[in-house]
């Protein structure tokens, strides 16, 4: 058999083909409208440009999408609490660090670790409900989706006239905290990019070096068979929620550092939807089973590219969802099985017609 044929076919069949194409088309349109789109310059000692901005801004979404991918794959459902959990994690971190101009209230490393621990706890709560109590994922995570922001507001309390008032915006005044969501001194690439890259690579590495990836897919495809071959599906599903909680915590930390404050109402707002969308755009089935982390990452960057380019075209923030929806419809349609069938049927008809003409 010729060597080329299968490779060509495997590219055509690859799950990543459409997501990558969608991203490329989006970038090309951007170049047509904004010729300076790909221009990257160094200003004030850091990289500057549209593409840098897209990659930088997409980091939280990329991290969340990775967690969401595993949840979807194993539990055939989605975790809609990720945005709220990010807000909780951010509130915990900011509250612990304090608002002094001179020093942190506790060691920053400790604050970050506690913030992660809280997000993991949130994930474990979701995981317990879904995996152990068999509650439908959307219902189970609805609890933290609604309660999470309330908790974040309770944590973001400040003393005003001798009374603790929740729902305040707390600020961290120390400059060094800003470097998590900004830049490390002397480095031109934004820190979130490093964090996201490490997060994604570490996840992929764990999935490749252990049988975890295989287990997650097995549990998502056929949990009954999984159990009979000795896989503890409860534990696997629980783990994916814990991991998803952790990813929300990391995203929350970056988001809070960007604005060096804890805004319980806005951090991670509507991000659960974008994260789910990123998973779907990446060619992953929301029905669970097989998954591609790379696909979700590309999906997340595509969404951010869309947002940034719409802003660049002067679309106002409240109009944004409409345009986003149109693009999403196009991409999702292109990926649907039914559409693929139409296409192959069309090809067949055309071939038959050609055959008849002969």
């Amino acid at each position: 058999m010729p060597d080329k044929l299968p490779t060509l076919q495997s590219i055509r069949k690859s799950q990543l083909l459409l997501p990558v194409t969608a991203l490329i088309i989006m970038l090309l349109i951007n170049v047509l409208i904004t010729p300076s789109f790909f221009r990257i310059s160094i200003q004030n000692g850091v990289l500057y440009g549209y593409t840098i901005d897209i990659i930088n801004r997409s980091c939280e979404l990329v991290i969340m999408a990775v967690g969401m991918t595993l949840v979807v794959a194993a539990s055939r459902g989605t975790d809609i609490s990720v945005g709220a959990v990010a807000a909780v994690a951010a509130a915990v971190c900011i509250r612990l660090l304090g608002s002094s101009y001179d020093s942190y209230a506790i060691a920053p490393v400790l604050a970050i670790l506690i913030c992660f621990a809280v997000s993991i706890l949130c994930g474990a709560f979701n995981g317990f409900l879904v995996a152990n109590l068999n509650i439908q994922p959307m219902v189970a995570t609805l609890i933290l989706f609604t309660a999470g922001r309330g908790i974040a507001q309770l944590i973001s309390a400040r003393e005003i006239n001798g009374v603790m008032v929740p729902g305040q915006i707390l600020y961290v005044r120390m400059e060094s905290f800003k470097s998590i969501g900004g830049f490390l001194p002397g480095i031109v690439i934004p820190t979130p990019v490093f964090i996201a890259a490490i997060f994604v690579l570490a996840t992929i590495l764990i999935l490749r070096r252990t049988a975890l990836g295989l287990y997650i897919q097995t549990v998502g495809i056929n949990p009954k068979a999984g159990r009979l071959v000795g896989i503890n599906s409860t534990l696997i599903i629980f783990f994916t929620y814990v991991f998803c909680g952790f990813s929300s915590g990391v995203a929350g930390l970056i988001a809070s550092s960007r604005i060096y404050s804890s805004d319980a109402n806005n951090i991670g707002l509507n991000m659960e939807l974008d994260a789910i969308l990123a998973v779907a755009l990446g060619g992953n089935s929301l029905g669970g089973g097989k998954f591609s982390i790379a696909g979700s990452v590309i999906g997340a960057i595509t969404i951010q590219a869309l947002t940034t380019s719409l802003y660049a075209m002067g679309v106002s923030a409240d109009q944004l969802p409409v345009y986003k929806a149109i693009v999403v419809i196009l991409i999702v349609t292109m990926q649907s099985e039914e559409f693929k069938r139409w296409r192959s049927a069309y090809r067949l008809r055309r071939q038959n017609r050609k055959g008849a003409e002969k």
Partner: protein
């Protein structure tokens, strides 16, 4: 005989990547005919059916229904054209009522466009009475009824509409004899009504009972169309296999009285084991290298006894000794680690992991046994899968092919391979040959005997008594969730076994 062709397929060709599944196949079906479609696994039977019903798109060829060319793009469209299918694995919603299942998508409406429940339930009861199920409450959930009844409901649904052609794809593989007879009566009735029936099955016996003509496929090619009454069985089998058929006799060779030999150690010793609601307390001893058969009617508790041993259903009472040691298992993984393996009855639901490759399906049990953090090296995975694909003669384009793209028999071989890779001491095979062609069946039976000869202990469960008589040393008889006796396989005949199953406990032991 004046025959009206209701359906004809001409020059059908269809290929999957790397496999030519059908090559210039012709098929024709008369009105009022039961036509058997036969062939080994992977012969192209299912593919032909799927092309006909629009699940697959053919590469070339034409289909005519009552002389009009048709092109079904989906099973729904085929259904509307008058071609209905009942699949081996029932595709109904067990959580909906029987009536809803029969009318799903075609519910009778009231003037206000709401569902007319009364009319629907009445009609459903009427249809079911016609297929011999007048005692069914159509408002109860389908899942409350047995597989046999679900199958009948599926048929009722299929023939409910202006059905001209009814396709039955392995409908009898999960039915017992009485239920099969019921089904045949319904088929004969449909035949008298002038409907054409395509009957896909592996049971030669049944073909000769009900079918008028037989079309045989092999490797995607048409082998011939025969009138049933003029085709001797041996010749049919020879046509299916493509070579002269060596008799299936005398597979079993080794000692019969292994269970009486005190020097041979026990592998399984169960004392008072039970699972609430499915199997009453039972005692069981199995010696090393023994093949023990479980027999009983469908739903008697055969599978449940096996599941209890494997802790697929955790036993509620009793103790289990495995290789002389007390085994306290609460999950399948514990039993696996001790050295058990279990091939479940329901291949689609409980065995195959459809979207994973053959390789992944093969190594998954060993991987689970090894542990999540000790990933089997890729080289080792490839080596194992190559080895077992070869040893079990699994027909697959490559180890990376998705298991769902294989034929049923080859899927089953993969699952057997999955367990053999773990080198179990005790292997439970629950209906390993269901829905599998004669050739593969024999291969599996031979394999069982061979493995037992090498010292593996095997529990073999099958609805086909004949098959068990060829392979097992001893038979356990299960009736109504209770182990009622054991029979040693010394020149047993089917009649002996059936008598034991049916009830005379005096026959047992």
């Amino acid at each position: 005989m004046e025959n009206h062709v209701v359906l004809s397929m001409k020059n059908i060709t269809m290929s999957f990547p790397g496999v030519r599944a059908l090559q210039n196949v012709d098929f024709s079906l008369y009105k009022g005919e039961i036509h058997a479609l036969m062939g080994e696994n992977g012969a192209g039977k299912s593919t032909l059916i799927k092309v006909l019903t629009g699940v697959h798109t053919r590469d070339s060829g034409e289909i005519f229904l009552e002389d009009k060319p048709i092109n079904n793009r989906s099973p729904e469209e085929a259904h509307e054209n008058g071609i209905s299918t009942v699949f081996q694995e029932i595709n109904l919603c067990t959580n909906l009522s029987v009536a809803e299942n029969i009318f799903a998508g075609y519910q009778p409406r009231t003037r206000l466009f709401a569902i007319n429940w009364k009319e629907m339930n009445e009609k459903a009861a009427h249809i079911l009475a016609w297929v011999g199920l007048e005692h069914i409450d159509v408002t109860r959930a389908l899942g409350e009824y047995s597989v046999a009844i679900q199958q009948m409901v599926a048929i009722a649904r299929a023939v409910n509409f202006n059905c001209k052609v009814l396709i039955l794809d392995e409908p009898t593989s999960s039915l017992d004899d009485h239920e099969v007879e019921n089904l045949f009566n319904v088929m004969r009735q449909l035949k008298a009504d002038g409907k054409g029936i395509i009957f896909v099955t592996h049971f030669l016996e049944q073909v000769y009972q009900v079918c008028d003509r037989i079309t045989v496929l092999r490797n995607g090619e048409l082998q011939g169309v025969f009138t049933t009454s003029e085709l001797p069985r041996v010749q049919l089998v020879a046509t299916m296999l493509g070579h002269e058929f060596n008799e299936l006799a005398s597979i079993r060779s080794h000692s019969q009285d292994i269970d009486r030999d005190d020097k041979v150690p026990d592998v399984i010793k169960a004392v008072g084991l039970s699972h609430k609601g499915t199997i009453k307390p039972f005692d069981l001893q199995i010696k090393k290298g023994e093949v023990i058969g479980l027999t009983g009617l469908l739903g008697s508790g055969r599978s449940e006894l096996a599941r209890t041993l494997y802790s697929a259903d955790k036993p509620d009472t009793g103790t289990l000794f495995f290789k002389g040691n007390r085994l306290k298992a609460s999950e399948p993984i514990d039993s696996m680690r001790a050295g058990m393996a279990y091939l479940p009855e329901d291949r689609k639901e409980e065995s195959i992991i459809a979207d994973l490759s053959v390789r992944e399906n093969l190594i998954i049990a060993l991987q689970a046994k090894t542990g999540v953090f000790k990933l089997l090296p890729v080289a080792k995975q490839n080596e194992l899968s190559e080895q077992y694909i070869k040893a079990l003669n699994i027909k697959t384009p490559s180890p990376e092919t998705l298991i769902k793209q294989l034929s049923g028999g080859n899927q089953q071989k993969v699952i057997i391979g999955r367990w053999l890779i773990t080198h179990p001491d005790f292997l439970i095979l629950d209906e390993p040959t269901r829905g599998i062609d004669v050739g593969t069946k024999t291969e599996i039976q031979k394999l069982v005997v061979q493995l037992a000869g090498e010292g593996m202990t095997i529990m073999f469960i099958s609805s086909e008594i004949e098959e068990m008589l060829r392979t097992v040393n001893r038979l356990c008889v299960i009736r109504d969730g209770k182990k009622v006796g054991e029979i040693r396989n010394n020149n047993l005949t089917q009649q002996d076994v059936m008598a034991a199953i049916a009830g005379g406990e005096k026959n047992a032991r």
